[in-house]
């Protein structure tokens, strides 16, 4: 049955299915609601409003030297929105096989379509949040301009990381369902282990040393730099993460090839 077509070719052949599934997910979410897709915009709007209100007005938090009353909420949103994408993509990929058991058990289709679906569906969520964020930046007069395109390679890198790691854990989760539960917890710790809500400068040197072990930290510092100061990210600091993805990718494929046949048996 295994066709001679490459897996990538097969995924491309199923692009309609991928697009349809992504679209259906959004439609399904708002099928019997009145506001419908508006909810997708309201969620990030509420989040940005809360952080702005709480930190800029109620707590009056500001960075020394940074301009504008909105610097803190820009700082938070620049990190929080990509983190939410990262977190959603990773956890969706951990549930990749288990959550799609019905589909996998009944249809012969390229399974690689599933991580693509996850990437697209969570990506749309992210883009909508970014849209709201950009409107906010425009409104408060902090439009970052062209430097914000520098965030694109960072976003691609974090998605590659979330996809590869998530896929690996997703395969593992078929056999050990603890993985999904553990990841839900780990993601919470990981969030606070990454300077998103707080600035790395406020940490004691000892804690900051531990934090440097977090490969995602330079990515998020990159976003914050871009949106706050239109700064170019420190590309060299990303090397550990790039190396991790480069090693993890073949490892994941090897692992998948080895146990892939057993996946359907365990679902």
């Amino acid at each position: 049955m295994e066709s001679k077509q490459s897996e990538l070719g097969r995924v491309w052949h199923y692009r309609r299915f991928i697009a349809g599934t992504v679209l259906r997910e959004f439609k399904g979410k708002f099928n019997r609601s009145i506001l419908g897709a508006l909810w997708l915009l309201l969620a990030p709007f509420a989040m940005i409003s809360i952080y702005t209100l709480v930190f800029s007005h109620v707590m009056n938090a500001r960075f020394s030297g940074a301009a504008g009353p909105y610097s803190y909420s820009i700082f938070i949103c620049a990190g929080l929105l990509p983190w939410q994408w990262f977190s959603e993509l990773l956890s969706r990929n951990v549930g990749l096989f288990v959550d799609n058991a019905g589909l996998i058990k009944k249809n012969n289709f390229p399974r690689m379509a599933l991580p693509v679906i996850n990437f697209c569906a969570s990506g749309v969520n992210f883009l909508l949040a970014v849209l709201v964020f950009l409107v906010f930046l425009l409104a408060v007069g902090q439009w970052p301009g062209w430097p914000m395109l520098l965030a694109i390679p960072l976003l691609l890198l974090q998605s590659a990381f979330a996809s590869v790691l998530g896929f690996f854990l997703g395969v593992l989760n078929v056999f050990f369902r603890d993985v999904a539960n553990a990841m839900a917890l780990i993601l919470q710790f990981w969030f606070w282990f990454t300077p998103i809500i707080y600035h790395a400068d406020v940490l004691s040197p000892r804690v900051a040393g531990y934090l440097a072990l977090n490969p995602l930290m330079p990515v998020f510092q990159g976003y914050q730099g871009i949106f706050l100061e239109q700064a170019v990210p420190d590309w060299s600091a990303l090397l550990p993460l790039v190396a991790f993805v480069a090693v993890m990718l073949p490892l994941t494929f090897w692992f998948y090839r080895r146990v892939g046949a057993e996946i359907v048996d365990e679902l």
């Binding site: 199923y14 309609r16 009944k106 012969n108 050990f176």
Partner: protein
């Protein structure tokens, strides 16, 4: 196109006592696991245009075999080779999304089969027409009955004539009208050269649709041949067990009250026999015998044996008793066991499932003295007669004759 061959196919599930044991095994620890072979040494090949019925009891491995053939599951050993476009109806529902309309689900299902947008658009009208869902086609699938879901699923899976069509029992849910419509389409596909692989518990369907049948038992091919032979074997060794289980299920479903009476007379055994062999599958239009063994716990001079055939829904189909037949089953001495046979020279029941209720009572009716009333003593099936198919519960001999045509009709 449409050839299918399977060689040395086997499927083994590796069963660990727990996830912890599996983890140990993965880490190289000497952990014991059980290899559960659900299919072994399966080899057969199907020529293009041939139609093969897979029969076997629940858990024999039929569905697993179909999953291996469609590529949903990977075999542990052996090879599967399929040429041409395969369309499969595995299990019920095909994974329709309940919140979406039939139309939206059709679209997704078609994409999942690798169809393009244009192809689906061109087929949508004919899919809707065949499924006959009317306004329901644009309503969410959650409001569908299971029969409607099957109609939709079949309609999508067969929208384009595949080279190989694989159907797993799914049609059993539909109503008779739609079943016939489906079989009609399957037959037309067959004539056009589609290879058919069909799983069914219903010997009648296999007989009428397939020119070859494969009996799978315990994960192995037990018999591969013409349906009549294979089904005879199936009936002889497998059906009794399935049927007794079905009766048990029914008894449980009925929740007691299945058998009552004062017990002065007792039906020890009751079974259908054809050519001297016990069976629960009879053939329409053929002879059949109902064998009873009655035990008298007291001496009994005069009594009546009654029998009543009911259909699946519990409607009375045929009933009679020894009083109406003007027969005397008695007298019986206390402790005596007596065998009786009701001979049906021609069984005029149509193909379907039936139950048989038996009664021993005092006179022409059971009100005077009820010794043993056994509701659904036997559940059995009637399969179509070779070359003389009919529908309905009644199988009547009928002939067509060309007669002199009256002048005015010309």
């Amino acid at each position: 196109m449409g050839a299918l061959s399977v060689a040395g196919l086997g499927k083994c599930f590796r069963v660990y006592r727990s996830a912890l044991h599996r983890l140990g095994a993965w880490l190289g620890l000497p952990v014991r696991h059980e290899d559960r072979w659900v299919l072994r040494d399966i080899s057969f090949s199907v020529q293009p245009g041939e139609s093969v019925g897979l029969v076997g009891r629940n858990g024999a491995g039929k569905s697993t075999l179909l999953k291996l053939i469609t590529g949903v599951m990977a075999p542990s050993c052996g090879q599967v080779q399929v040429s041409g476009r395969v369309s499969a109806l595995l299990e019920l529902g095909m994974g329709f999304h309940p919140e979406f309309t039939g139309r939206q689900n059709v679209l997704m299902q078609a994409y999942l089969q690798g169809m393009s947008h244009e192809e689906v658009a061109g087929l949508m009208a004919s899919i809707a027409e065949f499924a006959e869902l009317g306004d329901y086609f644009d309503m969410p699938v959650r409001v569908y009955s299971s029969g409607m879901q099957v109609r939709l699923a079949f309609s999508v899976a067969t929208a384009v004539r595949p080279d190989v069509l694989i159907v797993d029992e799914a049609l059993a849910v539909g109503d008779a009208y739609f079943q016939h419509k489906c079989f009609d389409r399957i037959r037309r596909f067959k004539e056009a050269g589609t290879t058919l692989l069909f799983v069914s518990h219903d010997p009648g369907t296999v007989k009428s649709l397939c020119e070859r049948a494969i009996l799978i038992e315990g994960g192995r091919i037990m018999r591969d041949g013409v349906p009549a032979d294979v089904l005879d074997l199936y009936n002889a060794i497998i059906v009794p067990e399935v049927a007794s289980q079905a009766i048990g299920d029914l008894a449980r479903a009925e929740g007691g009250g299945l058998r009552f009476g004062d017990g002065r007379l007792h039906i020890r055994e009751a079974c259908w026999r054809v050519h001297g062999q016990e069976t629960v599958a009879l053939t329409a239009g053929q002879p059949a015998e109902l064998h009873l063994l009655v035990e008298a716990r007291e001496s009994m001079v005069d009594f009546t044996i009654g029998l009543l055939v009911k259909d699946r829904l519990g409607n009375d189909i045929f009933g009679t008793n020894t009083f109406h037949l003007a027969q005397e089953p008695g007298p019986l001495a206390a402790g005596q066991c007596q065998a009786y046979v009701f001979r049906f020279p021609v069984l005029n029941l149509g193909p379907s499932h039936y139950s048989l209720t038996l009664a021993l009572h005092a006179s022409s009716n059971h009100l005077a003295g009820n010794y043993d009333w056994w509701e659904r003593a036997i559940t059995f099936q009637v399969v179509p007669e070779e070359g003389n198919r009919s529908i309905g519960v009644c199988h009547m001999p009928v002939q067509l004759e060309r007669t002199a045509t009256p002048e005015r009709a010309g």
